[in-house]
Subunit: 206 residues, 2 copies
């Protein structure tokens, strides 16, 4: 349990701040104001200061925020100072692409296992991991210390997989299947569905 309740929208924005602070750091900057950050993120300086103030005073009046210090604080708040083990279920096109995506490793998320139903894929290597039989998922995943699961199976099987994940204690699920998963309230699901985003954009087109 956290000390004070912080709105979920605020938590959602912290990774964005980290991303932009990283960028500024790469560009050689060491201090940034809420105003500059706001320009880069299309947010008001007020909102940024308010968000950060939820966690204490990170800035210095007249100067702004020390980029390294702020980034370290945000990483600590989000529990990012450790390697998180991730498992993937479903080694189709998207699954394979994610295994090969280096953005996870670069940011402290390690895909340690991938499970599949298709016998033709089990035992084969994708990137540098060997595809496992989904039959063994319920035993193997907890043994490996996995805390985050990524669902990349077809929509029809997603809920069943999700139920199994919940049962073995997974509390964070990144879902690429085009389904709204039903989970207990202590389990978090984040959905990624490019079709939904496109269907939204077409409203504004033409």
């Amino acid at each position: 349990m956290k000390e004070t309740f912080i709105p979920d929208v605020v938590i959602s924005r912290l990774p964005l701040y980290i991303q932009t602070l990283n960028r500024l750091l790469r560009e050689g900057k060491s201090v940034v104001s809420s105003n500059e950050l706001g320009l880069l993120l299309d947010m008001t300086p007020s909102q940024i200061r308010r968000d950060l103030a939820n966690f204490g005073g990170f800035g210095k009046q007249g100067t702004g925020y020390d980029i390294i210090k702020l980034m370290e604080s945000l990483r600590e708040i989000l529990n990012l100072n450790q390697i998180w083990k991730v498992a993937l279920i479903g080694v189709g096109h998207i699954g394979q692409a994610l295994i090969n995506y280096d953005g996870f490793n670069r940011n402290g998320f390690e895909i340690v296992a991938a499970f599949e139903h298709n016998p033709g894929k089990i035992g084969k290597k994708v990137g540098n991991i060997v595809v496992r039989d989904i039959k063994n998922m319920d035993e193997e995943m907890p043994e490996m210390g996995v805390k985050i699961a990524v669902i990349t199976v077809p929509g029809e099987s997603a809920q069943a997989i999700c139920d199994r994940l919940v049962k073995i204690g997974i509390r964070s699920i990144l879902n690429y299947a085009p389904v709204n998963l039903q989970v207990p309230e202590d389990v978090q699901v984040e959905n990624i569905d490019p079709v939904l985003k496109m269907q939204k954009m077409t409203y504004y087109l033409q």
Copy 2:
């Protein structure tokens, strides 16, 4: 311009309604109440009725909503009764996975072209499209009637690609690069970044 202004959050939810209505239809249902829909989508019935009421009265008191009729209306509102041509920039792992993803075609989005910088990939076939030279993007993309662009290049090149897309008249961009793109206000950008979602989830873990 639309008749009345509808909040963007509402528009974002319409594709979700369509998704769930589709599912109910596949399950053989023909009518649904705001209450049932709410249970499937983790929303209050009030919110669903309010969202839909923005566009007129689709339901029938005492009965609920005719699924086919409601779906048709929502598809019309979102301009989904046409095939939208999509181009992809960057044929790396994610780009290739998206070309092979059938969810786009099934939902009326056709990837008609893919552009790459890497000479080793230009001219090669991925799925059933031939990878084009990014040099020719600015001429070829408008000729093909593309209205939506998907950016799957590395973060460093994303803004430059984005600028070119804006210049040739693209108004809808789905961005997979881990960067906050700067665009004029009449251009819509939707970001997909699994790392940001994971970094949010770890806040609640441990």
